[in-house]
Symmetry: C3
Subunit: 341 residues, 3 copies
């Protein structure tokens, strides 16, 4: 948190152009256009909210030059208003101050190695063979198993479980309820019952990754499950054994990636999307929400499956016809049918 900031300070610090307003106007926080008071800065990144410019009370609005024309309030002009807003907002974030040291209620094995500058919260369990590096912060109820490494300045907010053989890079941020390093789902059917296929690998998480609440990342069967640097996972995502996700890719809530799939760099996977096992997805692929990827994707671009939402009565009629689509197409004399894969 920072005190005594003015519009001129923000403009100078983040290379924004201040248009209109008093340079010494105090700024005490950030808010939405709709909620901002006269000491708060708002922003316009999504054009959906442009109409709110007319009525906002914000001290200034961070926006693109083109939107400044129609903004009656002072403007802080940015090439990318969302990036600029992220930086301004960070000035007003309340970060919990973590004291280095081990909370007396934590259970730490003698054979664990905890850097003196790390912070281990109440009721954490750190098992033999685990390592926690300098500046790492573990909130309450975390559990760190054998051969796990929590990299420097990583933050496990609360109740994060690293089962075993999980190596986190620097500055990794993990939200509550996430489970890394549980066994992958490996089964072989023998005559009349399932045989568990031993899961012997680990999980490697690159620097600057963020992992959402209740997300699960399984250990590899053989070899590791890998997130390269700066991968961003939202909540309730499932990453199966031996998946590899390239640097700077982001997956939205409830997406799921099956075993041994490989996702490229700079990919964007929509909420609830699924990716089948053993596939390979190129760099810079976008998959829209709730689509299912059933074959490898070699070219960058945007991909989708599914049908549009409709009133149920109409949808039922169309869906019923879908069951006979091949027949309909044949009647039309459409060419030889294509494969789905």
């Amino acid at each position: 948190m920072t005190a005594g900031l003015s519009l001129a300070d923000l403009a100078a610090r983040f290379e924004l152009q201040l248009r209109g307003g008093r340079a010494d106007q105090a700024v005490t926080g950030v808010a939405t256009l709709a909620d901002a008071s006269a000491n708060q800065v708002g922003f316009l990144a999504n054009p959906r909210y442009r109409a709110q410019l007319a009525t906002t009370q914000a001290a200034a609005v961070i926006l693109r030059a083109a939107d400044a024309e129609v903004c009656p309030r002072p403007c802080l002009i940015a090439a990318d208003p969302y990036v600029a807003f992220a930086k301004v907002a960070a000035l007003f974030e309340r970060r919990p101050a973590a004291q280095p040291g081990i909370h007396p209620s934590a259970i730490v094995a003698a054979e664990a190695r905890i850097d003196a500058g790390a912070s281990i919260g109440p009721l954490c369990v750190i098992e033999a063979g685990a390592v926690v590096e300098a500046g790492a912060v573990l909130g309450p109820h975390c559990s760190i198993g054998p051969r796990c490494v929590v990299g420097a300045h990583a933050r496990l907010v609360a109740r994060v479980t690293l089962v075993q053989d999980v190596r986190l890079g620097r500055r990794v941020l993990i939200h509550p309820g996430a489970v890394l390093g549980a066994d992958g789902f490996g089964l072989a059917f023998e005559r009349d019952h399932w045989l568990k296929v031993p899961q012997l690998g680990g999980v490697v998480v690159g620097d600057d990754c963020e992992i959402g609440a209740n997300t699960t990342i399984d250990r590899g069967a053989l070899g590791d499950t890998v997130l390269e640097a700066d991968v961003r996972l939202d909540n309730q995502i499932q990453i199966a054994h031996n998946v590899r996700i390239g640097a700077h890719s982001a997956l939205a809530g409830c997406a799921a990636v099956a075993g041994s799939a490989s996702i490229g760099r700079h990919c964007l996977i929509g909420g609830g999307a699924g990716i089948l096992g053993h596939l390979s997805i190129a760099d810079r692929v976008t998959v829209t929400a709730m689509s299912l990827v059933t074959h490898s994707i070699r070219e960058p671009g945007e991909y989708s499956s599914g049908t549009p939402i409709q009133p149920n009565r109409q949808w039922r009629r169309n869906a019923a016809r879908f069951k006979h689509l091949d027949e309909i197409a044949r009647r039309l004399g459409a060419g030889a049918k294509d494969s789905t894969e």
Copy 2:
């Protein structure tokens, strides 16, 4: 739990009409029609189970007047048998008796405010600035962060995490593994890496809400994520930052709502359904299971997407044709194509 109840007692207490049977017949519990013994009351709400009337051994059956005609056992006639059954069953519920006070193993900050009538279970962590009001019950392994309020008579069954800035109303019930107040998924891409957009808001949960196991509700980016009163969330639901859900709406398991979407009152969202961000859904909208809502819905009613389940061989043929549906329609001379949104 209640002792010494008779059929007449139930009829009087819940304004049911007893038809047939002895008024003083003892009732010791509730059961399904198939399992009920001669001292247990069953019920018929779903017509799917009507055939079980013929063979049930129940002391009496709670049902609609129309179904009483064909029921050989004594009847307790109700306008809404499911509502009546819920009330009768509540008489036989075993509720864990929570003792007021703080379990000696809990870690409670001196700066937290815990009402003397609240019950804090074993191994809970309550941080500075948290408030737990009268009659609230926290089971084992809960974690309550700064600026969180657990309202009067709320119940956190076990292992619930309120990260920070989460305000729960009265009588809120939260099941194990739920995470409220984790950071929303806010990212801005700057040149060659993701920049985290600070998440500064909170979560507000109205009176009488119920939140299922392993459900996640993120804090707002700016402003709050809001559940109005009597919202009911099943397990493994994902509610992103700044979502608003109107009073009396219910979401079934694994549904997901993306950032800043607004759902009206009295909505029913089916299991696994998805709602994209920044949309608005009117009151009294039903979305069927696994549908994806990609645009705002202005009118009450039932909405769906997807295709029907079929034997895989037929499905493959039809799905392959879907890839050429526009071509097929053009060949037919169908009118100008419509947008999906």
Copy 3:
């Protein structure tokens, strides 16, 4: 972990045929074909990886007789290479050695019954009326509620919550974050608000079941939710109240089964698939990933719904046509429309 194994030992122990190579070649572990060193055994089960035979350095490859022809390395020939590999790999698994006894930080009610041969990890909570049988192992942060039974040699890896009335069979394996026995989602709408329908049943889990990380299995409303023996659930699966799953069925990650549905034996449910409530699915049914089952399935076989993934631009054109599919079919003079169910 086993020391001093040779190729001949593996062949003898698992009835594999060794072809090529030295019988006394030492084997120190298992690996993928791509990663195997000269002392490690690899395997080929999925034909997708056959090309790796040409370059692998493995001490030997477990594979089918037909693939042995094209393998330049020594072969261990198996009727089912994946089953054989599972058995070989198990020789090299590092299992945490759990000491019998109760960790001093665990909170165990006097009225709980813990077998002297069971192992209760740090910071577990065992409530009155719970039973933990011989050889069971509970990792850190588990919580076992009233009337729960953890069967002999069951293993709860870490942070597993059994809420109440959950009976686990022998050798059940549960991964972190799983919640068994939370209330089912039972609601009745009375005039202007939801009424909670008491959830009075339990959960029964058969011998040899495996339950993935962050999976949830609700208690029955009346009667129990049941997993028969050897059911295998991956991560983040949702099993609603009163579901029954037949022996040897396996569900992949993020699948969800709604209330009172019944799944047969030897079924395979794909990742993210959904099964609506009160349905019945026959034995040996396969449902492909992200399909939605909306009616009972009486015949064994493979079933699917959904549409294929396409580049978004093409998908949008086809999806827009889907909204008018009934109209298109009528124009074609297709017969009376069918129901979706």
